[in-house]
Symmetry: C2
DNA sequence: AAGCAATTCTTAGCGCAGCTAATAGAGGGG
DNA sequence: CCCCTCTATTAGCTGCGCTAAGAATTGCTT
């Protein structure tokens, strides 16, 4: 495919992404976890305990930003933060059980509205979308 | 398709969207327009002059939020804001020529990295993605 | 005509997330 | 032992989201 066509796809993806997150954010207003916290928590749940620097890198965010996100998670009892015994400059951040539980609920809420929209599509469209997502995930990895 | 399958797609979409915007944000750090401003400006360029309420609705944002986004655009000379003659409570917000010019550059920067990633995909994958985006845009509309 | 209610936008003030710069605390090498 | 490096936090700025409250304009009603 030529550059213009690729650009068109990229542009469409970008605006669709913005719109999706707008929708998700709107549905988040009632008691959910904010997007950055949810995302960080999800990384902790998936990859296990991490240091601050590792978590910040995973989320492509600077250390001070992640420090405050973690602070929020800890305050809400969704994660723990303790000095690492081997090297006490480092911090071992881990998801709590409560964190893992709320993770499921949070994603559910955020993703729910999206799923409803997908449900209205024709079957062939749903399949096309599934395939597109698959490709997209590979492209981003 | 059943609920679980749809949920899987929605979940994949959501996380892909988060990741794309992280990438875009990272590439934005050098002199660009912020995502909300860029998006609002793009609506103005596409749909022509709008009132504040219309623009806020288009961006799924409350009026005060949009008021400040517009304030930033006006301060940077990317949009104009003038009372509407017919009903002077309303405000007519329009993109300036400079705004339209910067729009191209801003989108280019944000979308550029994405396009590079798409370029590495196989042709069939690119086509699948194009189709997926098409469907997605319909689903979100 | 005067006043009142509705509409439209802005202002005020709060929380969260991003950043850089500066600080604090722990480890390690001279 | 002192200094330098590494890791994380604190301080302080910008910007975006919200709600609540204010100001300006319009138009309806009396």
């Amino acid at each position: 495919m030529n550059d213009d066509q690729l650009h068109l796809i990229a542009s469409g993806l970008h605006s669709a992404a913005s719109q999706m997150l707008r929708i998700a954010r709107r549905d988040d207003r009632d008691g959910g976890i904010s997007a950055p916290r949810l995302s960080a928590l999800s990384v902790l749940a998936f990859r296990g305990p991490l240091s601050l620097a590792e978590l910040a890198a995973a989320e492509e965010v600077k250390a001070p930003t992640m420090s405050r996100i973690v602070e929020g998670l800890v305050k809400d009892g969704l994660a723990t933060r303790q000095a690492e015994p081997a090297n006490r400059r480092k911090v071992r951040i881990a998801a709590t059980d409560e964190g893992r539980r709320r993770l499921a609920g949070g994603r559910e809420r955020r993703v729910g509205a999206l799923r409803e929209r997908l449900r209205r599509l024709a079957d062939s469209e749903q399949r096309a979308l599934a395939r597109g997502v698959e490709v997209l995930e590979r492209a981003l990895r």
